[in-house]
């Protein structure tokens, strides 16, 4: 990076894979991850006008996390009806030819998805993105002590789920 403000296309081209990965770990499924990235890219486009060169991945993480949390809050305000019978699948969804899955990753992803959103967000920003506690605190607007507590409790819950 030269330190100049990149174009939006450059950002999406260089960091799209990173964005999608973070979105997927937050959202837990491909459809929602896809939506998250779309909205995040829109905000990226707007935000580039005032972007100060610095940690691009940190800045992108903050954007995609906030999109995620906005959606979480929106869903909380309008509870979704639970139906009397659960949707059933007659056929298991067949993975695409280019999909590599291993059972272990699926288990971890599933356990991650079952964490409450606040814990999941903190864990993903720390262990998937690699942000410092201070960067995380800045991204989600909570005190550093809260970040530390959420990460710790999230990890403990994960460990329980994985046993």
């Amino acid at each position: 990076m030269t330190g100049e403000v990149p174009t939006w296309e450059e950002v999406a081209r260089t960091h799209g894979r990173f964005l999608y990965n973070v979105a997927y770990r937050l959202a837990g499924n491909d459809d929602d991850a896809y939506d998250l990235v779309q909205e995040a890219l829109l905000r990226v486009r707007k935000g580039l006008e005032t972007y100060q060169p610095g940690s691009m991945e940190g800045w992108l993480s903050r954007i995609v996390t906030n999109v995620f949390l906005d959606e979480v809050r929106r869903k909380r305000r309008r509870p979704v009806e639970v139906m009397p019978d659960d949707p059933e699948r007659l056929l298991p969804s067949t993975p695409g030819a280019d999909e590599r899955t291993d059972g272990f990753s699926d288990d971890v992803q599933s356990a991650l998805h079952h964490l409450p959103e606040e814990f999941r967000t903190a864990v993903v920003l720390c262990d998937v993105v690699g942000l410092s506690y201070e960067e995380i605190a800045d991204a989600i607007a909570v005190p550093v002590g809260t970040v530390r507590s959420r990460i710790h409790r999230g990890r403990r819950l994960l460990r329980t789920a994985l046993q």
Binding site: D35, L42, P84, E88, L90
Partner: protein, 359 residues
């Protein structure tokens, strides 16, 4: 109007067409030595007949119109968290099936009494065969409990490949009628049911015996539609195992009726868009409840006849209605168009981001 027996179309012809499949249905626990005289329906021969679930259900359909009886039916359904229960008196004589003072079925005709007289909802025979139920369902018959003080055989319905019993039909051993039909939730509790609470067979009251079907004042029958003009589109399949059995038009509304062999599902389409989200729909409907299907939010409604979901997409308003379990309705809804209106999350993909190519 005499009670003419329904011609050999529909389910009866289905039976002949896939006799092999019917014989292959699972039969368990059925008492083998049931005397032939107890078997309902004419022309089924003497001697022990291995009764399969599909035949049992086929005969039940005929029995509803050929048997004479008098009784009370309880209709129970759940919407949101509330459970509703209503009683409906029913009687059948001379091929005319009557529910209270309001609904009559005779042959292939269906009539409803409105505020200003009778009108016809349906009037003609149907010749298109639907799929056999055994393509999607595994049906098993075994001796059942008493319903309305009558011994029954119970048909357990499971999806092929799933363990959960999702539906049960209790068939009266004496008359062959379906005395109870219930949908079960994931815990095995019935959440929707139509069931006799009392029934007497044989001769019914004098009034019912002499009165035929009402003279119809007006028709609300939809017209069969063989071709649909754009933007309407015939869909041959929808959801899990539902196949198009008929398409009809009435007053700018197109109805496509699908069957999976056990349940019917209708998709109504009309051009236009829905008003503001909180608008109540015409009639005494409530405001519905919000549900999410496939990432889209829309309104769902429940009533005695089944569940319905309403939404609009790209200048078309869709109403999907069925008495099948919710997962069937959701599966069909997923297969229908959902163009998100401006202001939603995905507008980005269509406008801004489509300019960009990402590798």
């Amino acid at each position: 109007m005499t009670g003419s027996r329904r011609p050999l179309t529909g389910p009866a012809a289905q039976r002949l067409a896939f006799g092999c499949l019917a014989a292959c249905s699972v039969v368990s626990g059925l008492a083998p030595a049931r005397p032939a005289a107890a078997l309902p329906g004419p022309g089924l021969g003497a001697g022990p007949v291995e009764t399969s679930a599909v035949e049992l259900l086929d005969r039940a359909r005929e029995a509803a119109e050929t048997q004479s009886f008098d009784g009370m039916v309880a209709v129970v359904w759940r919407d949101g968290r509330d459970q509703h229960s209503e009683q409906v008196p029913v009687s059948s004589a001379g091929g005319v099936l009557r529910f209270g003072d309001e609904v009559v079925g005779a042959g292939a005709r269906r009539m409803v009494h409105g505020t200003d007289g009778w009108f016809s909802l349906w009037g003609h025979d149907v010749t298109t065969l639907g799929p056999p139920p055994t393509a999607k369902y595994r049906l098993a018959v075994e001796p059942g409990p008493e319903v309305a003080a009558r011994p029954t055989d119970v048909v357990d319905v499971q999806l092929v490949g799933a363990d959960r019993i999702r539906e049960r039909l209790y068939v009266d051993r004496q008359s062959g009628l379906v005395l109870r039909r219930e949908l079960l939730d994931s815990r095995g509790d019935p959440y929707r049911s139509v069931a006799f609470t009392a029934i007497t067979s044989g001769t019914v009251g004098a009034e019912a015996a002499t009165a035929g079907a009402p003279g119809v004042i007006r028709s609300q029958e939809p017209v069969p539609a063989r071709h649909l003009k754009a933007p309407f589109k015939l869909r041959s399949r929808i959801g899990t195992g539902y196949r198009l059995v008929g398409a009809y038009k009435a007053g700018g509304v197109v109805q496509q009726f699908f069957s999976d062999g056990l349940h019917g599902l209708s998709v109504f389409e009309q051009r236009g868009h829905l008003g503001a989200a909180e608008t109540t729909l015409a009639g005494q409907s409530g405001t519905g409840r919000e549900v999410e299907i496939s990432g889209h939010t829309m309104r769902a409604y429940s009533a005695s006849v089944g569940d319905a979901v309403v939404w609009d997409s790209d200048g078309m308003v869709y109403t999907a209605v069925t008495d099948a379990p919710w997962s069937d309705l959701a599966g069909a809804v997923r297969d229908l168009p959902h163009a998100d209106p401006p202001g939603r999350l995905r507008r980005v993909a269509q406008t801004v981001v489509s300019l960009f190519r990402w590798r």
